[in-house]
Structure formats: structure tokens, C-alpha cells
Symmetry: C2
């Protein structure tokens, strides 16, 4: 399709993505201007700001090929390998989705629907944790005496977007250091075996 052949809806999503992944404080008017339409026209496509944010996250998933990139994780044969791959895949994802995630979290302050949408996405991520840990338990590699549920919650907490913000944005860690530490801490915490220093 040519440059201007893109339907308006998609131009809006692209605009929203541009602005949201870049800076913060994105208003409906900003998105409209970036998409080259009027603010009111925006409301013809997305009834509320929350609706736009949610649609944009789906759009982002599609663009980044979230599903395809998770295929290797699902294909892992051992629990240990699956855990490692899952942590790496997620860690690589966080910076990509962060702007949008932040916008959705901020929106949750005043909008219950946004809170719900964000919670659903986090629950989805938790499923990824759960799947890896169930496999780990199946292999007998899960730490002795640790229930899968507890392990899931701990891993889910460890991998939270807020923790990424804390280490990378606030404390200035490199993405590589972040991912390395997350993998190491996850493995030790959940297998109970200490890795290399």
C-alpha cells in the first residue's frame, strides 16, 4: 500500500505509537495532530483515551511480532531452558512496550477501565511465568518446598515493568545488565541453586 493509502484508523495508531513510545503526557489532541486529523475525528474511531491506548498496545504487539518471538520459548524442551528463554524474551520486550505501559498505568489512576486492561495484560504475562515454572516443576528442577503458585508470583513480581523502570531508568542500569541480573536472580530464586558469579 502507498503512503497515503493507510486507513485513518491505522494512521492514528501509528501516531499514538510514535508519541507514546517517545515521550509522556500525550493528549488526545497531540495524537490527532500527529495523525493529521482533527481532535474530534479521533473520537469517531476511539471513543475514549483508554480505548485508544488499549488498541495501540495490540497494534504494537502486532508490529513487534510478540507472538512469533515467543515461539522459541514455547518450544523449549526443559523447564530450565524455558525459564531462561522466557526471562530473556520478556526482558527484551519491556523497553519496547514501556512507553505504552506507562501511559496505561497512568491512565489507571483515573480510569477503572484502563486499570482493568492493564491488569489483564499483567495476568497474561503471569501466565507466561506460570507455564515456565510448571515445566520446571515437572522436571523436578523447581526449588524444593516451593509451590508453583508462589514461584509464579515471585517471578511475576521480579519481571514487573516497575522493576525495569527502577533499575534501568532510575538507577541507570544498561539493558544488558538488567537482563543478566534478572536471569540470574530468577534461576537462583526458583531453582535454589546458586549460579556462577
Amino acid at each position: 500500500m502507498s503512503i497515503e493509502a493507510k486507513p485513518t484508523r491505522e494512521r492514528i495508531l501509528d501516531a499514538a505509537l510514535d508519541l507514546l513510545t517517545a515521550g509522556q503526557g500525550v493528549r488526545m489532541g497531540d495524537v490527532a495532530k500527529q495523525a493529521g486529523i482533527s481532535r474530534q475525528a479521533l473520537y469517531l474511531h476511539f471513543g475514549t483515551r483508554t480505548e485508544l491506548l488499549v488498541a495501540t498496545t495490540l497494534h504494537l504487539d502486532q508490529i513487534k511480532g510478540r507472538d512469533a518471538r515467543l515461539a522459541p520459548v514455547r518450544a523449549a524442551e526443559t523447564g530450565l531452558e524455558r525459564l531462561r528463554l522466557w526471562v530473556q524474551a520478556w526482558c527484551a520486550f519491556v523497553p519496547e512496550i514501556h512507553g505504552l505501559a506507562r501511559a496505561l498505568m497512568d491512565q489507571s489512576v483515573t480510569d477503572a477501565e484502563a486499570a482493568l486492561a492493564w491488569a489483564a495484560r499483567m495476568e497474561d504475562m503471569r501466565q507466561g511465568c506460570q507455564a515456565a515454572l510448571a515445566m520446571l516443576a515437572r522436571d523436578g528442577s523447581l526449588r524444593a518446598g516451593m509451590p508453583v503458585d508462589q514461584a509464579t508470583d515471585l517471578l511475576w513480581m521480579l519481571l514487573s515493568v516497575q522493576n525495569w523502570e527502577a533499575l534501568v531508568q532510575v538507577r541507570g542500569w544498561s539493558q544488558v545488565d538488567y537482563a543478566q541480573q534478572m536471569e540470574r536472580q530468577a534461576l537462583e530464586m526458583l531453582t535454589g541453586r546458586v549460579g556462577n558469579p
Copy 2:
């Protein structure tokens, strides 16, 4: 002092504390009503909502005797003991300050001054982590090959208010389970030695 002898400023802070520790979505008008004054009178004492929130956190610290309760932590003789005491003290603190913390974090979305105030408090907490870990390093108990700075950041992340929210509020952990896991994970992560199952 008698019931009504309290100066207005204090009645306001008490009112704010009441509302903020209880529910969310506290407006200036709500606080004023609870304190028994007009909304405008509130602005005679606190110029902005952020100012009120910050003053209320200080007020809370004072009421809860934050300083006194940290004395045993500072008195610890070994790094291991200090780390353990610090984690426990902080974990016990989080639910007490949570309402206010949440309000300040939410305020940070739209107000840079609030963001600064919250960051300062978090930096303060980080100092507590740093002190414990410096002592741990002095004792030679810090995990081999782990710089104190890195350890500090990891502990700081682990103990974040957001992580408490995730485990206790979202996942429904009990406060006891939360504190136990935090202590265990902190000790293992930072000493490199695995504890009891």
C-alpha cells in the same frame, strides 16, 4: 491539649491521613470537609495538593515513630543482622505508608514536584539498603563478585512499594508471607548462600 485545642494545620493533617490511608481518590475538598473547614481555607495552610501530601507523609513518619523504630537496625553489630532487621523493619512499614505512597505516586503523573518528593523518599530508603550492604561487605558476607552498588540497587528494587502491591494487594499474599519471602530472597540474593527451605 483538649479536643478542639489542636491547631487547624494539625487537624488538616490528621484528616488527610485518615482519608489517604483508607481509600483512594482523595480530593482537596474531601480533606477540607473532614477537617471541618472550607476548601479555600485549606489553601491558606497548604499551597498545593502536593504540598499537603508531602506534609502528611512527614506527619505520618512522626506519628509512627519511624526514626525510633529504625534504631535497632542501626544498632546491629553484624552486616547479616543489620540486613535482616532492615528488611523486616521496612516490610512492616510498607503497609502503613502505602496509602500515602500511592497518592504521591499518582500525583507524580501530573506534578513534577510530587515526583521529586517521591524520588527523594525512595532515595532515602535506598540509603538504608546501602548502609546494611556496606556493613555486609565489611564483614565479608556480601556475595563474591557483587559490587555494593549493584547489591544496593537489587535490594532497593526488591523492597519497592510496587512489589508489595503486586504480592499483597494483587496476588493476595499475607503480610507475613510477604515479609518472610522478602527476607529470604534478600539474604540469598545478596549473600549467595541458600537458606533453609
